[in-house]
Subunit: 318 residues, 6 copies
């Protein structure tokens, strides 16, 4: 349990606390004397830190991505609070809980998982329902689903993000199943719940959010369909056609070859799952970027590299 | 009022009735003798016709796109009914009602318009509400909105299609406004109602569905924003920022420059309107193409040129 | 066993023989009288046929893709031989051997399979060797591999084409393993043998070469990796890293997302397998197209749609 | 009126003068002591400045884009002159004339505007002539047209640049009207004068050249056609067809959807205006880049990011 | 010398005259009896012809692209005049003058060549002037330049088209050299005259306009620079830098790699030559397509495949 | 002859030796005092150097790309050895041998050239054989071929790289000539040897590897075919068709217009040379990047900008 959080640090105080190292750079003075410029964070925010002394001894003791125990003093510098570090060292894994250090979903993970499970139970086709029980009832898989992020980058890139994104999609899909009455609600719900399931193995999210080797070599789309194939194979009598359609929904959910789907949607259900995935991801990315964009009097955000545009924040007070 | 519809024609009967000419081709026999191969339709279906005699006299009297009065006999040919035409001539415009000849929405136009008007009344911002009243309360514009198709091509390409597509979108947008509570419901509803309003001038749909000259030179996106600009200018005191955001939603609703939007979405509302437009159009296009694809034992449709793929109809009985 | 082959038909003879229907079209005379224009083939070539009489009765009895039993007479027409058909009917499946009707590889299938098996036995890594034995030693799979085409279109699009293409690739890969000594020969050989294995389920090739439903919904790349995954799972102790690298080779063998690989090559072995696949397919496509392009005095082929160019045949006699 | 220009600053002098802040960065010394690195300019050139002392007090008093009043001393540093700043503060808007601080066209603005007006008077069609009088005779619009830049980036990106670019285009269009005698000279001249008129609202150029919010949400193409539409509406009896063709010329002048035109040129006049716009912009961009590229002995410029290439300056003395 | 031209044929007359065969197709009657459908032309227009009798004997005697001697009768058919052919045979090359059969420039070839030569003489740089004399003073080359088309397709695709296009470009370039005074007029003029010189070997235009084998294997861009290289090599002392810049202008004149230039323009002269080439080709293509588009009451042309759009012809009478 | 190589430098020693300057940057201390940060190299490796004193005097005396004579002391800094420079000056060209300073092929240049010459002698067509003798027997050309790099960037970008790449390709082509027996071995071998011959003039590689002016204005593809054209012209009687095919192979060897080939491969030999060039370049680029990627415990390389991906190095010890 952390003793002190970033949001509670006040200039002038002595600090003894643990943080995650987001950035670590060695800089040089005129005569070549090095100092360390470090950015630390926990779930409540982030803070700059500097190691001016004893650099050669402290530098080898921690790396970007480590969780470190820091001793020093909070100082005020240019309207911000900064840490002047006296000692900094990597903590043992056993001492810590990742939820303390990473940004996390604002939703309640257990409630979200329960809501998702309710949708799973509402599926009528018995084979699909059994398959979902098989997935969501698997304790280890459920634990990973509750923790995984939806991406490494800027949208839902936090613990619990995958679950939050999945549940948001399923709610929209449930509405669309009523809106377009001839489409298969079962296929939409199951497709929504499982389309990104491969991400629990595509990412590592114990220490830092990054790609795993299977994630880079195979990708979450393939991994997800393979997970489906193995669990379907374990359900005796599962209809081949149903398996085929469901695999297609997952395989095609990126919509275009260019975005990594080896097949494009060829059923209306695959088309809808693709659209809702894209919609929810981009709406969240817009909202996060606008929300994180400071400068309360500016109408525009900084340039968004992925969207290749500036986003409009609107008139102040509007 | 038409006296006889395609779906009621029986082989062996004498026929006197009016139809729309969908296709008209001159074909030649071995020695150069011509005959006319014609495809006729009304709102209930279409039928092949042949003019074997008196071709030189009848040919100049009608063209593709005309509504014609036909006399002849229905004959049975290869399991289908065909018309052997004795006389065929173009009708005067005053004699006919286009709703008899074109495919039309299956929805009830007046009910759909009333539902759309209810959404318009639910808008809270008084300026936007006034603007919508201005549009929907304009009898001539309302009449055109009720009749216009949403496209020339394969999705919603029938009378009333634009209204049907617009209402479908607004219903989804209304849901999404609740789902994403920080977005502006008003902007979504107004954007949804007006995003395609330029189509009532982009298309001609009295005689046949085709592009108008303004439609080809300016396009419905520009035309729609110009319509907005004129009506906003007529509302004294309409806030400039609000006008700007709304124009942006309409201008950006195709999402990408490549698809004809001169600006891409830069607000979350513009993004959502774009997505829902694209989703509803493509879902409908899939469903129409699968629905129109005969051959009840085949699992696959013909090749869809726009989507560049075959669509999966599923196992028979599934 | 067929009684008569296309290459042996002589004008003036009465014909009783079986053929595959490549094309079937209904054409009309001036007064609407129909006749059937049919293209027939067997493994030795193809021939035009016409059904002038009794069309209404014979037409429903066969379709494109059927193998039919034909009675009629060979006639000479414009320097070519044509069949005037008196009777034509679909044959029962039990009566026929597809190798009689389809174009087939010029290679000896058993010899090619034996050569491929020799390469499989030369693999040194025991896990990979076991895996190959598992595949090639499976009689049903081996039978399909011997018969499958490599494509529906113009290169290796004949029975045995997949085996021919696979063996050709493996020979080149074997050379390149010696040429680039630091790459893994084992991975090249196994990747070469298995990269297209999913094609045996992507295509149907009993009646006509076409895509199966799994082929269209999932594609041979996914199907192939799934086949790998299932057989690897059955080998106790198979190293995960090795499985991962091999799956990557198969998944990435189209080289680019645009061509259907959800991941691009990230190992040198995956890169080489991709290149050799592309090279062998295109060299064969060039050679088949130039070889099939008649007109012995022309320097250029017709326009090749896939390559979007004319190919140069060179000076006559050169 | 400015008292001292950059080009007249000599090392060793005390400086009291006003400049525009082009760049402002806070840098840090080894121990974290900050200094300000500033780049200042006026219409005659630019100069580096450093604030070594009193940083915390001076820093909040000005920003990039401000015009500031500076006191300090010019010092010589590495063959260049630099300002050591003692005091620096933002000036009130009322004190200054933007033409003193921004780069400006080398042409005489009034002469260029007079020349453009002559072309406007040479238009024969009375409606188009009236429309041009309406635009150019509007004092406020004329004032903005004289001041606006043609771009934010590297070509004509200076005060008066839009007028210079417009006049250059009109001269070429006048020639082409004689060269291609069947095209409409009137449409070319009017199209040339008005094609970029929306830029006077797309950019802000009082303080710094940047995009306005309407510029980013709607773009100069839409804004320009809207300006046309409003002024045409005010001319009673203006022919609809003529308005349509002219709007098309402006709407289509970027030539391709990808470059922001929602419609591509469909008349020869729209095609020519597009080409001449592109030609004049790129010729000027080449010439400015080559001209600004120092290093008198080098044959090549630096890499040009927009053109994605190095440009050839030729042999010295050639 | 031709005895009769298409424009002078009247229904009812007996015809004995020579024409170029544009299209030749064999069609079939119901019972398989063939007839020939032929389109003939000379420089004044084109006409349909039919061979109803003696088909087997006449068919082998001529091919598409041949110039044929025809005997028959002009008949009136559906408001058009058609030839009923009794005899048709290929003519010997020695009997005919291609200018009688192909469409040709409306300009006077000798006057155009003289005008081009005047521009060549106006070049000031002595090396470039000598080079142009070398080209234009070569009688055989001049003869080919006077006859070559500028393209196989729809713009300037007629005898003399290359010269017409070249002269039109040089006139524009001459104007632009005055308009942009710092560019090299000499380089523009020489670049304009020689940029497409490789086309005289890229096309064959004695019998029909088509690509030559060098045209397809190397293309006119490479061929043109090779022609330059050989003639420059023959001028002792020609400066290397000058040769390099000129070769670059020709090599880069298609502007983009995608359009076949292996290098993009890196000098302002290369940029301008590219633009003017593109402008003149497209303006002419627009004008030819609109001019050839019949239907005097229609506002729009047919769909233009190269431009992928309909072109606007304007209101009738406008 | 160099007296000391990078790999032999030890901390604490005084240094007097020559190196190539790879990077040179001026950095500033807090008060504006400059120092030089320099990266030096020779064929054995590279080392950091700092000039702390006497900067103003030493700075003008050398530039990036120069070979310099350095006096100073090797010091240990952060586990690495660095040079503290007292004096540094550019050396005269006459004093040095470029092979001492650049990275070079690991192969033996003379042996590689001899092997290439053996392949040249194995060509059977006498004209092609003579042509190759003409090229390889030209001492100056041979000397440049032995020294030239294959690229400026990351693959084969070292002295001798072009020869190494060429020989590697010819060996593969020799194998493929046996593998595909109907292709022309002669054309493959000659195409392989000469396809990149223009690179000896595209690059400068005496001082640093960079593009020449002809390299940037014309490119190695054009330059190479021009070299062919000149040498073929000098061989009396060389068959035109053979020249044409060979030029096509060189012109088309980049495979696509986008990659700088003005024509795409239209013969099977041109296709194969293109593929083998691409394969050998990319295999080498993968292997170099993986080989240069330090961090022996990491499974993945850094991001590769050209390939736009991370490359997989595999499990340690695998």
């Amino acid at each position: 349990m952390k003793s002190l959080y970033v949001k509670d640090i006040r200039a002038g105080e002595k600090i003894k606390a643990s943080f995650l190292v987001m950035e670590k750079n060695l800089a040089y003075s005129q005569k070549g004397a090095p100092y360390l410029s470090v950015r630390l964070r926990d779930k409540t925010g982030d803070i700059e830190a500097r190691v001016w002394d004893n650099v050669a001894a402290l530098d080898p003791g921690f790396r970007k991505g480590d969780i470190v125990y820091v001793q020093g003093r909070a100082v005020s510098y240019r309207d911000a609070t900064q840490l002047a570090v006296l000692d900094i060292r990597k903590m043992e894994d056993t001492e810590l809980d990742p939820w303390d250090y990473f940004p996390t979903t604002k939703g309640n993970v257990e409630e979200m998982f329960a809501a998702l499970s309710d949708y799973a139970r509402s599926v009528e086709n018995p084979w699909l329902k059994t398959l979902l029980e098989n997935f969501l009832g698997d304790g280890e898989l459920a634990a990973r689903l509750k923790r995984a992020p939806a991406a490494k980058g800027f949208h839902h890139a936090y613990l619990g993000g995958l679950l939050e994104h999945t549940l948001s999609m399923v709610r929209i899909l449930d509405f669309l199943a009523r809106h377009y009455p001839t489409v298969s609600r079962d296929m939409l719900i199951v497709g929504g719940i499982l389309h990104d399931i491969g991400k629990i193995e595509e990412f590592t999210y114990d220490r830092a959010i990054d790609y795993t080797t299977p994630g880079r070599l195979l990708g979450h789309i393939y991994i997800g369909v393979e997970m489906l194939d193995r669990r379907i194979a374990a359900i005796e009598g599962f209809p081949m056609d149903l398996a085929l359609e469901l695999k297609h929904v997952v395989l095609a959910h990126h919509g275009e070859l260019d975005f990594g789907s080896p097949k494009r949607p060829k059923t209306v259900e695959a088309l809808i799952v693709h659209f809702v995935d894209d919609l929810d991801a981009k709406v969240m990315a817009f909202q996060e970027f606008i929300g994180n964009s400071g400068g309360e009097d500016a109408e525009w955000t900084l340039f968004h590299r992925f969207f290749e545009r500036f986003l409009y924040k609107g008139k102040a007070g509007a």
